[in-house]
Amino acid sequence: MELGSVATPIGALAVGTSLVAAAILLHYLVRRPQLTAGTRLQLLLGLAVFPFIAAVATTASGMERTTERSFCGSCHVMEAHLADVNDVNSLGLAARHSRNKLMGAHPCYTCHANYGMMGYPLTKLKGMSHVYNYYVVGYRKWELPKFLDEVRIAEPFPNMNCQQCHSGKIASFSNVREHLAASDAIEAGTISCASAGCHGVAHPFSKRPEEL
């Protein structure tokens, strides 16, 4: 059984402060003491100070959790993607990158988080649309084959995300004839690095034959 982020220091801090605050609040509810200065101080700790620490720690722990591959793969519609990136024999672009230690447990986030100063919060906000689609639009009830057949990435995958690691500035990149010929299109994003004819789609099992 996976125990979320409890084993991490920040997760343990969130749970620890929550338990202390809960003990204070339960004590007040059960004992109902007079509202003296001491009781006010206890309630200040139980309703403001410890919950604030817990909220900060929960947010930090939650944000970290949302970058893990097991989190992305925990909705059933992502099971095939998770299985592919975990498959050491897969030759898909995403799978090959996921074996890179630099990406560790966060390969989905590393590639799909947009580059730039606002990349992190914007990626998180956009991630809320996945939650909305899953629980409200109804992907939760879809069979996997239907999902793979009908759902595609919301926006074209930006080449800038590849260039977070592959800068494209060194000779081994810029001397490749295809890169030279298509340099303007690569820069403009009209040709995707992760497309058929270039480096191939990232998750080939999820595409129809005509998309490969």
Binding site: G4, L29, A48, G62
Partner: protein, 77 residues
């Protein structure tokens, strides 16, 4: 200002403090659920619903203490 003082004069301090404690407990439970479970819905709830409930509980606590202080001042000779 007068309206706020009137509101504080009628504020049911004990009941609101109990409500704040219950809301606080719900918020804390949701946060712990998110951290322990690690599943998408609890994690999202722990970073949104829980914090909304926590802020509400904190506001009720603040108003209750303000009401208690205001009443103490009124009753002082």
């Amino acid at each position: 200002m007068k309206r706020l003082l009137n509101l504080l004069a009628k504020w049911p301090i004990d009941r609101m403090l109990r409500v704040a404690c219950v809301l606080g407990l719900l918020a804390l439970a949701t946060m712990v659920w998110g951290v322990v479970s690690g599943a998408p819905l609890p994690v999202v709830a722990s970073m949104s619903v829980a914090q909304g409930l926590g802020v509400l509980a904190c506001l009720l606590f603040g108003l209750s203490i303000a009401a208690d202080v205001a009443r103490g001042k009124r009753q002082a000779p």
